[in-house]
Symmetry: D2
Subunit: 377 residues, 4 copies
C-alpha cells in the first residue's frame, strides 16, 4: 500500500525534529513536505538542522546520514507562511495533511493553521493556539476519540470541505490524564486533584532553558503551564453540544509546575479525591493494568500495547529508566498508595516530546485516518 | 568571655563536617572534642576527613589548611561509643555538651544518646532516633522554643542531673514549618496540607545517592521521609502535658518526597487549606515578612535576621540562588498565590544541611544556652 | 540453527546487566546460565536485579517484564565461585562458554577465571585481571583478531583441552585505539600520544560515583585508569613470540583521566605525533572513513558496519548524541585538525559499557566462534 | 579615605553582575556609574537585573535587597554607547575609570573602548577586542605587571592625556598561566604544552549554553577558545619594544577546549615539556608553593595571599570544592606528576568569572591604581 504523504510545519524545531525522527519508518505516513521559518526556507532539511539535530544518526544504505533519513534530508525546506507552496505540494501528491509544530506567536499560529484548514489541508497540531477554539477537538486518542465527531460540524460551520484542525493537549497533563480517565470510565468520579510536576527541559524547545538555570538547580515556574494543566483536562472530558465542545467543571485541579535537570520525561506527583464512590488501591491497580481503549483495539501503529504500565518497585517511575517504555508512548505509574489528605496518591511519568508531543500527534493522525477524516493523499 | 567547649559525635560524616565548618568562628562555642566510628578513632580529624571533606578550605595563619580549621584538624578523633573518653574530656573542660550527628542504627543511637545524657553530658541531636520519645523536645527555635520547658521534667523522670536530650526535626519540613507556624500564630488554623518536596542529595549523606540515579533523572522516593514529613509537625505544634509532649491532630499532611539532582537545598511545593478563618494573600505576605520569634529577640548568633524571606520574582526560590540566604538559615518563599483546590499555594526553600541540620542544631544549642540549660563548661 | 548457550558471571552488576540486555535477541547466543555473588545466589535473576536494573523494560508476550527478558528473568542465579554449578550447566547443555563480568578482587578473579578455563569452559572476560597474563589475548576484534592464534598455545601450556581465557582491554582506550590502529595499518607510525579522557560514571559500576561528586563538578582522577590507558595499547599492538604476546614499545602515551557528569560514553581528546611519514588531514579522514576489518568482513552480528564514524560538525562528537551510533559499537570522531604541537588532533567517543565492555566482549565471542574456538554447546 | 568612583560598562551581563557583586564592599573602589545596552538604559539597576541576577542576595539595613547592594540597585542604567553620559558622570565625580564588560561585536567594543580612552576615561577591560592591539597591555597582575609600562607610550602615541586601555586575557588560560610563569621565572624554560580544558558554562554568559547540551553531555568545542588559549600566553610573556608588546615564540601550545556541566571553575589538564634544564617534581612543588609576586607584595585587596595552592589529595582539584579558594582568586593545582611523554603533568583549576574575569579585572585596576595610572577621582 502506498504511504500517505505528510507535511511537517515547523519541521526544524525541537518537536518538528521529533516528528521527522518518529516518522522515519512509519508504516502509513511518509514525510514528503517540510516547512519552517523564512530563515530555513530554501535550504535542504539536512542543512537546516546541521548542528541543531537533537537525535541520533542513522546508517542508510552505504551512507552515514548526518541528522536524518536521507529522504527527508534532501527535501528543500519551504516557508511555512507560504500556503501556496503547501497547496502545490498537495496538488502533486506530496502533502495529504500536515503536522503543525510551528514555533510562532499564538495569534500567528491560529491564523496560519486556519489558512491551511481553509485551503483543504487537514492540520494535526501540537500547538496550544487552537486548544480553546470551541469547535476544535483536543485529542488524547485513548481518552476522547469520540471528540473527532466534531470535525464534520467544524467543517460545516467554517465552510471547509476537506480541511480541519485537530489539536493535542499540553505535555504536562499526559502523565496523569489517561490514568484519571481510566478511573472515571469505571464509574469513579474524581472531584479534586493537587499535582506537582517535575518537567524536563526538552519541553521548552532548543535552546530553551539555560544550563546555568539547570545545573544544581530547580526552577519553580513554567510560564502558562499551570493554567494549561488545570484547564485542559476539563475540555478533554467535555461533551459535544451544539457544535461546541463544552468543558466539564470537575475535577478541580491545582498544579505546581517545576522545571528539573532532566532531558526528557515529565514526572507528576498526584493526590486525588474521589466522589462518593471510592475504589480500593487494588481496584485502582486492576483498572489501570487492564486499561485499553480505541487505539489499542484498532491496533494503531503508534499506540502503546499497554497505555498504562505499573511499576511495583518503590523507586519508580524514573525519567531515565521509564520514559522510553513501549515506544515512549506508555504512561508509567508507581508509588500507588492512599493519600493522607485525599484518597489516592501516585507518581506518573510520560515522555514529553513523544507521548506528550510528536508521538501523541502521530497517534491522533492515525486515529483520524482510521476514522476516515484523513484522505489517502 | 571564654568560649563553651563542645563535642561533636559523628564528626566525620556529612552533617558532622557541616557542624565543624559552621562552628569554626562561632562566638559562643568552640569544638574541642570530636568522636566518630572506630574506623576513624585514633586519627587526627584532618587525617580522618582527607579526601572526604565536603567544604572549602581556609587559610589560617601562614598555613593552607586542607579540610578544616587547624584547631579541630589536630584533634584526635575518639570512638563515639566510648562514653568514658567524653567524660574525661568533660572533666578536663573540653566538652560541656555534645552535638550528635551519629550515623548508626536508630536503636544504637537512642541508647548511646541516653548514655551521654545519663553521664551528665547534654545532647543536642540531629538524629531521628529520639524524635518520638515523649519527654524529648523536637525543636525549631523559632517555632516551639517553649518545648525546652520539658527538659527539667525529662531530667527528673530519668534521674539525670545535668544531662538531657533535645533533638531537631527532619530537614524536609524546615522549608514550610516556620511559615506554617507563622500563620497559625496569627490565628489562622491550617486544616490540610498537600506537599511535594524536591530534595537535595546531600540529605542522604556521603556517598549517598549514586550519580547514575541523579544524572538526567529524578527519584520519586526517599525511605521514611514522607512519614517524617507528615508526622513531625504535629509534635512540634504539640503541648506539654504530664511530662510528655502531646501531638496535635491537625493539620493533616500528605507528602510526596522526591530526590532531584541538586547538591544542597530542599524545595517544597505546598498547597494548604485553612480553617474557617482565611487570610488574604496580602495578609499572608504581611505575616511572613514581619515574622520574628525568640531567636531573633535574643539575637542568637546563628539566628537569621529574617526567618522568612519573600521573593516576588515568579521564578524564585531556586536552590542554587536562595539556599545560602542569611547564613543559609532563612526560609525563602516565592510563588505565593491562591490554590485552585485549597486556599493557598507557595513554594518554599531552605538549606537542608544548614537550616535543616547542623545550623538548626547550633541554633537550638544557642537557645538552650540562653535559657540556661547548657552550662558554661 | 540452535543458539549456543552461554553463561554470564557477575550477571547482576553493571556490566553483567549490560550483557543480559544486549544478548536478549542475539542471533547466535542465548543466556541460559547466570552466576553472581553469594548474596544473589538462589534468587531468580528478576528478583536479584529488582530495584537495581539499569536498563529499560521490555514487553514480552502479554507480560510487562520488569527488568529483563522473561527467559533470563526466571533463571536462578548461581554462586559464581561454585564451578561445579557451571560444570553441571555445561553438562546439561546450558553453558558452552561464559562471559565474565565479575566484580571481585583481581587475584580472586584471576584464580576463578583460570578455574573455569581449566574445567573446560572458555572464558570471554571483561576484567582487567588477566590482561597482562602473557598467554592471554587482549582483543579488540577490529584491531588484533590474529591474537586469537595464541589460544592453542595457551591451552597447550596449561594442559587445557577446550577451555581458554580471552580478555578485552579497558573502556578508556576504545575511543582512540581503533583509529590509531587504522593509521598504523596504513603505514603511518605513531610515536607519541597525549590524551585527556572525559569518562562517564557508568564506568565505575553501581552505585559507583557519588552524586555529590558529580553535580556541578569534575573528578580529575580515576584509580588505575591512566596506567591502563598508557600500557594496554602496547600489548594490543604486540606480537606473538614463543607463546607469549610481547608488547611494542611505541607509541608512548600519556593520559589524563577525568570523570565527568555523563551517564554513558567516554570522550577522548587526542594529540598525536607520527613518525617520519605523516599523512595529511584528508588522508587521515580517508583512512578512517574507509576503515573495515575482519568483524566487518565476517559480518559478525555485533560488529558495527562502520567501525569509525566521522562527524564534520564542529561541536561533535557528544556523548548523548553519538554514543549509540551503530548499535553503540562505532567510534565517533570529530574535530579532526592539525595539532599545534604534535601532528594531529581529534576528539573521539565510544560507548563505554557497550563498545567498551559488554558489546566488545560479545563481539570478541563472535570472533572466537567464527574462528572455531567456541564449541556449539 | 574617600573611595574612587568607578563605572561598569555592560553592567547587567554575566561578568558585569560579577563586577557589581565583587565590588560591593571593596575598600578602594565604589560603583557609582552603570551602563549597558539601550534595552536596559533608563531602568534602575535593580529593575534591569530582576529575574536575571546570578548571585545571592544581601541584607542591608532593614531591607532585603533583591539582587544587589542598595546603592548600585538604585543607580539608573545609562546607555554604554553614550560617552557623554560617562563624561558627565566623570565631571560630577562619579566615574574615575570604567570596567568594561561589554557584550557587543568585537569591532564595536574596540571602537567604544577607544572612545572612552580618548575622552580621558581609563578602561580596564575584560573583553578580547583589544587583546592584540600592540600598545595595549594584556595583564595578569602576578605575571606581567611591568607591561603597565606601555601605558605612557600608549597615551603618547594616541595623544591621550589621562585615558588608557588595559585588558586581561581569556579565562581559559588562567588556571595554568601563573604556574607556567612561576616555573619560567625560576629559570626553567617551557618549550611545549598540550592542554585539555574542561570549562564551566558561566564562561558563555547568560543564557549561554542550552541545558539540553549540558545534561548528560559534554561539548567538545568552544568557538575561538583554542586560538586564545594558544596565543595569548605568548603576548603575556612578551617584551615591550618600540612602544609595542612583542610576543614570544615559545612555548608552543596546543589546546583542546571542552564545555562540561559545571557552573563555575575551569579545569585544565596540562602536559608540559621543559627546555634543557628540567626541575624535579619536588622543585616544581617548591616553586609553586612559595610563589608570590607584586600583587602580594603590595598587598592589593583582591590579591590572593597564595596565588598557587597545591592539593596533595589525588582527587583534587575539583571545581565545586576548589573554585572559591582565597576569594576565588587562587589557582589550585593537583595531580602533579611526571608526564609519560613530556616532562610534567598536572591538573589546574581557577574560578572563571572571578579570577578569570571580574576578579582579575579588579586586581588589574588595583595594580594600575597602585602604580599611579588611575586617578583618585
Amino acid at each position: 500500500m502506498a504511504k500517505i504523504p505528510v507535511g511537517v510545519l515547523g519541521a526544524t524545531g525541537m518537536v518538528g525534529q521529533q516528528y521527522i525522527a518518529l516518522l522515519a519508518d512509519h508504516p502509513w505516513f511518509e514525510v514528503r513536505y517540510v516547512a519552517a521559518s523564512s530563515r530555513s526556507a530554501g535550504k535542504t532539511y539536512r542543512e537546516a538542522v546541521t548542528g541543531r539535530w537533537q537525535h541520533g544518526e542513522r546508517l542508510q544504505g552505504d551512507d552515514v546520514i548526518a541528522g536524518c533519513a536521507s529522504g527527508v534530508g534532501n527535501l528543500v525546506v519551504e516557508n511555512a507562511n507560504d500556503i501556496s507552496a503547501a497547496l502545490a505540494a498537495a496538488k502533486r501528491g506530496d502533502c495529504a495533511f500536515v503536522f503543525s509544530a510551528l514555533e510562532l506567536g499564538k495569534d500567528e499560529i491560529r491564523t496560519l493553521e486556519e489558512a491551511y484548514g481553509a485551503a483543504g489541508i487537514p492540520v494535526v497540531s501540537n500547538n496550544s493556539a487552537h486548544r480553546w477554539t470551541a469547535d476544535v477537538p483536543m485529542l488524547i486518542a485513548e481518552v476522547n476519540p469520540h471528540h473527532t465527531d466534531i470535525i464534520p460540524l467544524q467543517r460545516k460551520a467554517r465552510g471547509w470541505n476537506q480541511g480541519f484542525i485537530a489539536v493535542k493537549p499540553n505535555c504536562s497533563i499526559q502523565s496523569y490524564m489517561t490514568p484519571l480517565f481510566a478511573l472515571i470510565r469505571e464509574g469513579y468520579d474524581v472531584r479534586r486533584i493537587i499535582v506537582s510536576t517535575l518537567q524536563a527541559v526538552s519541553g521548552a524547545g532548543y535552546p530553551g532553558v539555560a544550563s546555568l538555570d539547570m545545573i544544581d538547580n530547580v526552577l519553580p515556574y513554567i510560564g502558562g503551564e499551570e493554567e494549561k494543566t488545570e484547564q485542559e483536562p476539563l475540555k478533554i472530558l467535555g461533551d459535544i453540544r451544539n457544535g461546541r465542545i463544552e468543558s466539564r467543571s470537575l475535577p478541580r485541579i491545582s498544579a505546581h509546575c517545576n522545571r528539573v535537570p532532566v532531558t526528557d520525561g515529565h514526572t507528576a506527583c498526584v493526590s486525588l479525591e474521589f466522589g462518593e464512590k471510592k475504589p480500593s488501591i487494588e481496584e485502582v491497580k486492576r483498572i489501570w493494568l487492564s486499561f485499553s481503549a480505541l487505539p489499542q483495539e484498532l491496533d494503531l501503529p503508534m499506540a502503546p500495547r499497554r497505555p498504562i504500565i505499573i511499576r511495583e518497585e518503590e523507586n519508580r517511575p524514573q525519567p531515565r529508566k521509564d520514559r522510553d517504555a513501549d515506544k515512549a508512548m506508555a504512561v508509567t505509574i508507581g508509588r500507588i498508595r492512599p493519600c493522607n489528605v485525599f484518597d489516592l496518591r501516585f507518581t506518573a511519568l510520560s515522555h514529553n516530546t513523544v507521548r506528550g508531543a510528536a508521538g501523541g500527534g502521530i497517534l491522533n493522525a492515525e486515529l483520524l485516518r482510521a476514522k476516515g477524516y484523513i484522505p489517502e493523499g
